[in-house]
């Protein structure tokens, strides 16, 4: 109940910034157009690159633009609030509350993600559908699996962003770490270039890292690249990272609380 209320409030909070939302949809759409033409050129040269055809490639572009803000790919969201509260010391107030910090911030971030999905997710995709030939999920199973995968993508991204924000307990400021992990996320999520195009060991590594959950896995599910056990494995991969990261968050939070409560900040 509480967490639903927290998520709803977060949703409402983001919805107050309408102009920023519109500007964001515009920006995502412009990048979508640019990437689409770049990818089309690439796939004209190699029509089966990475096992995608040209339509898959363009669809992938618009899914990437839609997921970008929904999962807060390079940082931001509720975890920025956390980092700020650590920096200012307001985190002490969170400790006075009879409720867990991790669940609270996850709920807030899911509320944020829901808002971003409906605006900066759906918006660019509509533009993409109108301007390009975009593939829609081939079956109800794929559509449902995509929805699950999307939520998992947000949770995995939240886990990483929460860990990054927690560094503020020791470094006072998350921004350096945030920029660094943001760069990793852009590259290893497949936002710039689908991970299926990464050659050899780099591809294997990229597809094993948690960032693969961000764009590559949900996009492949949308494109119907996974079926049956393969689909279960793809979702399982995301679940695994979500669990590992949330456990790590809880552990770090315990250390941080110890630091604040036992050592006195």
């Amino acid at each position: 109940m509480l967490h639903v209320a927290v998520a709803t409030r977060a949703f409402r909070r983001y919805s107050t910034y309408r102009a920023a939302t519109l500007a964001g949809i515009f920006t995502n759409s412009v990048f979508g157009v640019i990437y689409s033409f770049a990818y089309l050129a690439l796939w004209r040269a190699n029509p089966t690159a990475g096992g995608y055809d040209a339509q898959d490639a363009v669809t992938y572009v618009w899914l990437g633009q839609a997921l970008l803000m929904t999962i807060a790919l390079w940082g931001g969201g509720a975890t920025d609030d956390l980092a700020e509260r650590i920096r200012t010391g307001d985190i002490a107030i969170d400790l006075y509350r009879p409720v867990g910090i991790l669940g609270w911030y996850l709920a807030a971030d899911l509320g944020r993600a829901a808002y971003q999905l409906l605006t900066r997710g759906v918006g660019p995709v509509l533009v993409g559908v109108l301007a390009f030939d975009i593939a829609l999920p081939g079956s109800a199973t794929d559509a449902a699996a995509f929805a699950v995968s999307l939520v998992l993508a947000v949770v995995v991204s939240f886990g990483i962003r929460f860990l990054v924000a927690s560094t503020a307990f020791w470094l006072l400021d998350q921004s350096g770490v945030k920029v660094m992990t943001g760069a990793f996320a852009i590259f290893f999520s497949g936002l710039l270039l689908p991970l299926v195009l990464f050659p050899g060991w780099l591809g294997t590594l990229a597809r094993a890292l948690p960032w693969a959950s961000y764009v590559q896995v949900p996009a492949d599910i949308w494109l119907g690249k996974h079926a049956g056990t393969d689909l279960a494995l793809a979702l399982g991969f995301q679940v695994l990272w979500a669990v590992v990261l949330l456990a790590a968050c809880q552990g770090v939070l315990r250390l941080a609380t110890r630091k604040v409560v036992v050592q006195g900040g």
Binding site: L2, A5, R12, Y96, P98
Partner: protein
């Protein structure tokens, strides 16, 4: 049950908190580890329904004590019980039974309308809906927040925000309310209203109040009992009047003469400072100002007179220099 009612709400015995501090020392490459005692040998008890002023200069250990009382800092020594609980071990359980208000920090959600913060707190503390309504209506009425409920917190004035914070801290009927500099930055009228509200809260609901402040008037308006802490330990525990007497502090009579004159010579007061026609006379706090004022007025041509009450910092400084 009957035993519990006789037990103090807050029991502090030989409480100690040390911090490890790393300090640079000339001629040494590595910083030297040092132990600083923020609080030591602190013992006191607070009964249910008391209003206690917890005062001391900056860095005396006030915040450190409050942090330990609320469970967000673990003591390094001594014993501590609040409402029968060990605060740091039972932090979450205790959190449901206490309220905390910081003058310089807000527990409200910045971007949300005020009412949303209250609704979140209702769910967080699992306050029964009827009780929540009752409390909310009452506090909103007394604290005059009705018009602000739908305003985002970031748009509230400092006074409105403080009243919002106090409402937030009281919705779950805490047994004890800790207030850290609650009137800081407020105008005179807001201060007065806030004090009146806190007093009624104490008399009507029996809520125990622990108040840290620099404002002597907060203490005078609210607290029968004062605990003074300095250099990490209690240097006084008793009534405010007793504190003035014990501290040996003085009040000051500021006299503006019509013309410059040599230091005024009247019984019961000493001249501390002379600046042109203005002179500062000090006299004991427990003495009446009337005969001194009369004596000055009869012997000199006086343009203006005023009396300055001792500053709490002065009282504490006096007290501490005596201890040392």
């Amino acid at each position: 049950m009957s035993q519990q009612t006789h037990q103090p709400l807050i029991e502090v015995h030989d409480l100690e908190r040390t911090f490890d501090v790393r300090r640079r020392v000339e001629g040494r490459r590595r910083r030297v580890r040092e132990q600083v005692r923020a609080v030591h040998d602190l013992t006191f008890a607070v009964q249910r329904g008391e209003m206690v002023g917890y005062i001391g200069p900056n860095g005396a250990g006030k915040s450190t004590t409050i942090k330990m009382l609320t469970g967000i800092l673990v003591p390094t020594g001594g014993e501590l019980r609040v409402a029968g609980l060990d605060p740091s071990r039972d932090r979450v359980e205790l959190a449901r039974r206490i309220g905390v208000v910081f003058g310089q920090r807000s527990t409200l959600w910045w971007d949300l309308p005020l009412i949303d913060s209250f609704e979140l707190l209702q769910k967080m503390y699992r306050i029964p809906p009827s009780r929540y309504r009752e409390n909310l209506d009452r506090f909103v009425e007394i604290l005059d927040l009705g018009a602000q409920l739908d305003t985002p917190v970031r748009q509230l004035s400092l006074g409105q925000r403080m009243r919002g914070d106090i409402t937030a801290a009281l919705l779950h009927d805490p047994e004890v309310l800790y207030l850290d500099e609650p009137t800081i930055g407020l105008d005179v009228i807001s201060k007065g209203r806030l004090r009146e509200f806190l007093r009624s809260l104490n008399t009507e609901r029996g809520t125990t109040l622990v108040l840290t402040t620099h404002d002597l008037q907060d203490i005078e308006a609210l607290c029968e009992r004062v605990i003074v802490i300095d250099h990490g330990t209690s240097v006084y525990d008793g009534t405010l009047a007793g504190l003035h007497a014990q501290g040996g502090s003085t009040r000051t009579l500021v006299v503006d003469l019509v013309d410059e004159a040599p230091p005024i010579d009247v019984p019961g007061a000493d001249v501390r400072r002379v600046e042109g026609p203005r002179q500062w006379l000090s006299f004991p706090t427990d003495a009446s100002a009337a005969p001194i004022v009369a004596a000055v007025a009869s012997a000199y041509d006086v343009a203006d007179l005023s009396i300055q009450e001792p500053d709490i910092e002065d009282v504490i400084r006096d007290l501490y220099s005596r201890e040392a």
